[in-house]
Structure formats: structure tokens, C-alpha cells
Symmetry: C2
Subunit: 140 residues, 2 copies
């Protein structure tokens, strides 16, 4: 049996949850195959050397995907329906970077029985690599 | 050598591009490993049978990831800097569904030299599974 997520009534403004993962070369190459995005910035080191980044970087959507385990497995958790997510990309994610995705409840929308969360992705240096928000309906 | 993407001046309102891929069980299990999202809705068929979906479904972020090859490799193409993306999830994506991600330029922001695109993800039945928009800076 799986533990059900938090209901609308159980969730409070300022509740937080997070998930951390090191993004590896393997992740990037698998993500290229999954997404179809073989942009040389991600998979061609010689090309990447000629860009301002100086080396291959991870796909923006890869670091962004760390939001999924937070919403679906922690806050609200199992049974959550994601309505909308927005991601603003601020800094590159390099191979080997350890990314933390943290959410904080900012609003409860009584009519929709939905919850809005602020989302921030930081790297191991504490730099914000992306930020955004998510609108979700917690399990009933 | 890689072919450079379209510049701000080359891009016109109503320009479009798209990418299509069948989402497989393999994609879903690799995405679970990459994202850390082992929500049973994606990886536990017996649990998924008890939900309104009746079977395992793909992660929302997986279908969303098909936007990356469109922006980074087609329109604007190589050298594009993505500033922001928003995704509104409307319908589930089942294993075996063939998803098309299509973008259309809706706005050119002269000051930022950025371009806004409308994004629509449809399945093989023509149903909209997600929609959203993207703000990007084309290569200089």
C-alpha cells in the first residue's frame, strides 16, 4: 500500500518540501533520448566549448523534472493533480551539479480546492538555477 | 558543424515548428530514474488500476520535454536561450500515445529581442493533452 498525500484541508500556507539529486552525464544522455533533444549544447563537447558555457550543460527540463517527485510524492503527495507549472531558467546546470528543488505553499484557492506553490531550484553553491510556481489539486 | 538557429529578425509572427514522438514504457521508467519521481501512478500497474486513469500514465514532465527539441533545434533552433516556459496539463498521456508538440510564434518583444511562442501538445487522436507558452531569446 502507498501512503496517500495531504488533503486540501491538511495543507497550510508556508508548508515546504524538497528533493535533491546530482545530475549526471547519464541523466543528460537518457534525457536526450527521451525528449528527442540532441542539441549539441547537451551532447557535443567540442561544440559546447565554443559557447559561453564552455562545456556541455544539462537540458533545462531535466533539472525542472525534479519538481515531479516533490509534488507527487511529498507535498501534497500521492493523488495530486498538477494543473499548471511555470519555470524561469536563470543559470545553467552542469554535469555533476547537485540540484535541490524546494516548494513552499503560497496560496490556497478555496473555490478550486487547489494550492499554489512557489518553486526554487538551487545548485550545490546555493545559486538559484531556476524558479517558478505550480498550481495543483491535492488528493480528495 | 551544426546549423545555427533563426535570428530575431528572421523570425516572423505565426512561424511554426513541431516534433512528434511515441511515448513508451521505457521512456516512463527512464524518466522515473532521471527525475526521482517513482509515483506509483507511473510505475505500479496494480495501484494505477485503482485510480480514475485505470492504468499507468506517463509523467506530465515527460510529454512536456518534447518542447525542448522544437525550441532548441528547430524554432528558433541552435543557440536559443529559453527564459521561461509554462505548461497547463489537461489530459493524461498513456504508454504508447504519440505526442506532437507544436509551437507558433505569437509575439516579438523588441526590447528584449525575445520571442513568445504558443505551445500545444496533442495526442494521436488530436486531443490537447497540454498547452502553454514559452519565452525565448533566439541566437544573436
Amino acid at each position: 500500500m502507498h501512503e496517500k498525500g495531504k488533503s486540501y484541508n491538511e495543507i497550510q500556507i508556508k508548508d515546504t518540501a524538497q528533493f535533491t539529486k546530482t545530475i549526471t552525464e547519464t541523466d543528460v544522455y537518457l534525457f536526450a533520448g527521451i525528449s528527442g533533444d540532441f542539441n549539441p549544447l547537451h551532447v557535443d563537447e567540442e561544440y559546447a566549448k565554443t559557447t559561453p558555457f564552455g562545456t556541455r550543460i544539462a537540458h533545462g527540463g531535466l533539472a525542472a523534472s525534479l519538481l515531479a517527485p516533490v509534488l507527487g510524492m511529498k507535498l501534497p503527495g500521492l493523488g495530486t493533480l498538477a494543473l499548471e507549472t511555470t519555470t524561469k531558467f536563470r543559470k545553467p546546470v552542469y554535469f555533476g551539479d547537485t540540484i535541490t528543488c524546494k516548494v513552499e505553499v503560497t496560496e490556497k484557492l478555496e473555490k478550486l480546492k487547489a494550492v499554489r506553490l512557489k518553486v526554487v531550484w538551487t545548485n550545490q553553491k546555493g545559486e538559484v538555477v531556476s524558479k517558478g510556481d505550480a498550481l495543483v489539486i491535492p488528493p480528495g
